[in-house]
Amino acid sequence: MKKNAMIDRYRWWEVVLMYMGIALFLFFILAPFIEGFLVSLKPLGLLFSTPYKFFPENGSFKAYITMWESVPGFGRYIFNSFYISTIITMVVLALVVPASYAFARIKFKGAGSLLGGFLAVNMFSGAVLLIPLFRLMRSYGLLNTYWSMIVPGVAFLIPTAIWLLSTYMKRIPRELDEAAYVDGAGHFYILRRVILPLAMPGIIVVAITTFIGAYAQQFIFALTFNSKTEFMPLPIGLFAYFGRQEVIWNELMAASFVGIAPAMILIFALQRYLVAGLTAGAVKQ
């Protein structure tokens, strides 16, 4: 153990207490995954058996192999999720970066209520708006394309993204754009050459959160607006493990783990930026 400065030095019981706290906390977070993992290891026939055994007796990773056979398109679903999320993230960024700049760096009448209006979008759950949305998608001719999932996905991810990014951008010193303005730079030039590069950590955070929101949580739109199997994203793909009456639980869980692995790897690689970007941004009201 590295020798910490005295202020960071813990007494042994503090260390024990804190590790216990962390263990408890992580157990809460991970217990369902443990359960899910155990389910994925058990043969379907032995899934439902008492007494409860923490470690399965005939555990095997067979489900991780058979899952690819039961739902042959699963790889495709993961790809679709990635594809859709990537496009959603790009579209969201394209819309949100300029808007956040306007909110964060330009004073204009009605900015507050407009931002509130954007946030109000989150007050409606997509489920309630499904039917009007469906009509809308149809009249735009977007049904049964990737766009049928991208277009509504973007709309519901915009508000949080604007909120996150504009709080981040508010923290860039005012003098930087003033200096550029005095030097004759136009608004667009300032945005592009000064603010954008500086807001990069914030943009990364927004990109990550948007991507994950789009990757894992876009279920209902995909379900309603798209009926082409080849366009289905991961969450729908997982539902393919629901048979006519029965659920192939072990494969479903295996597939869930396989499906979230790419996003986990992404988070793993970027978690440093995530915490750092949040530190600089969102905390301030």
Partner: protein, 375 residues
């Protein structure tokens, strides 16, 4: 080229008026310093001249053209910010080149101009570094470099040295003065550091609560402050003020009876109606001596600072408040040990009940006594 005039300039934020009508003429090539306490509106005024703040009322003209509605770049103005406002993601070269890139100048010209500016500012070896790796003084120079390359006719500086330490500040002060001499451009400089104001300015504008309190050459402000505010603001340690009553007015000056009991005739031009009025006598710490003088007071120093060449004493005087004195290095004073100080009538300033100075009969080009600018 760089002549600037403000007439009746006012600024309101929402309802609140913070600049109350400023009239000021600045000659081409002049070095004008705005001083004043925090919040008096120095920055606001500068930002209005620059074009960063709307002018609520009144006119700002540059070389005879009204510029109220022109953006900064069209006013021929460059500004150096207190925080430097360097772009942290760009190299020093790109920072300096920024205004030129905005104007889409050819690459060769940019190289040449930035190179020239860097040479002037001794930044040649730093051009490829990021501002984050520079020292305070170097950053300051980069900020100036960015202003220089545009070749503006007017430079604005908003407390450009306040983030530097004392030694660096002194050094940069000299560099700026040299730069002014080299470029011969008009410079308007905001500070609340008196030493900067006194050493750099051709003229100082003292602002107080959004209005001009006095405009004049540094020594003029020192010797002939127009009012209590300027008198107290210029000079360090601060001028001592002793309340009193005018007992007589004669051609020699005004005779004042001080709260300490002493009486003195101050050589100022005073009207007869001053007689019987309460007045305030001002005497600078550097004019208090341990020798003989027209008036003397007895003090008990609470703090004594030995600066080597000078000794500064601070004391509480009943009915007057804090009194400080700047004595010679060898002065025999110690905390808690009573001492007698005196001053001569000729060094006194006199202010009427409204705080306006009565004109002194001195030459305002007279030098300032020792260590007036200490600290």
């Amino acid at each position: 080229m760089g002549q600037l005039a403000l007439s009746g300039v006012k600024k309101r934020f929402e309802k609140l008026e913070v600049i109350h009508g400023i009239d000021l003429d600045i000659k081409d090539g002049e070095f004008v310093v705005f001083v004043g306490p925090s919040g008096c509106g120095k920055s606001t005024l500068l930002r209005m001249i620059c074009g960063l703040e709307e002018i609520t009322e009144g006119d700002c003209t540059i070389d005879g053209t009204r510029v109220n509605d022109l953006p900064p770049v069209k006013r021929g103005i460059a500004m150096v910010f207190q925080s430097y406002a360097l772009y942290p993601h760009m190299s020093v070269f790109e920072n300096i080149a920024f205004p030129l890139r905005v104007e889409k100048r050819p690459e060769a010209e940019i190289k040449e101009k930035v190179g020239r500016a860097a040479a002037v500012l001794q930044l040649e070896n730093r051009l490829h570094q990021k501002p984050g790796n520079l020292s305070g003084g170097q950053r300051q120079r980069v900020a100036i470099g960015r202003a220089i390359v545009r070749e503006p006719s007017i430079f604005l500086f908003d407390e450009p040295l306040s983030n530097l330490d004392a030694a660096l500040r002194a050094e940069m002060r000299i560099e700026l003065t040299a730069l002014h001499q080299k470029l011969k451009a008009t410079m308007i400089y905001v500070t609340h550091d008196q030493v900067e104001a006194m050493t750099m300015a051709d003229r100082i504008v003292v602002l107080d609560g959004g209005s001009i309190s006095q405009v004049g050459a540094p020594l003029e402000l020192y010797h002939k402050p127009a009012n209590l505010f300027v008198a107290g603001f210029i000079g360090n340690p601060k001028m001592n003020f002793i309340p009193g009553t005018c007992t007589a007015v004669s051609p020699e000056g005004a005779t004042v009876e001080l709260v300490t009991g002493a009486s003195v005739t101050v050589p100022v031009t005073a009207a007869g109606m001053l007689q019987g009025q309460p007045v305030t006598l001002g005497i600078r710490p550097e004019h208090l001596t341990q020798g003989a003088g027209d008036v003397s007071v007895e003090i008990t120093p609470t703090v004594v600072e030995h600066l080597g060449v000078n000794t500064v004493t601070y004391a509480d005087l009943e009915g007057v408040g804090n009194v400080s004195a700047l004595l010679s290095g060898s002065a025999d004073v110690a905390p808690g040990q009573p001492a007698r100080l005196s001053f001569s009538a000729a060094d006194c300033h006199l202010f009427d009940a409204e705080g306006q100075a009565l004109e002194r009969r001195v030459d305002s080009a007279m030098p300032i006594p020792a260590a007036a600018s200490a600290g």
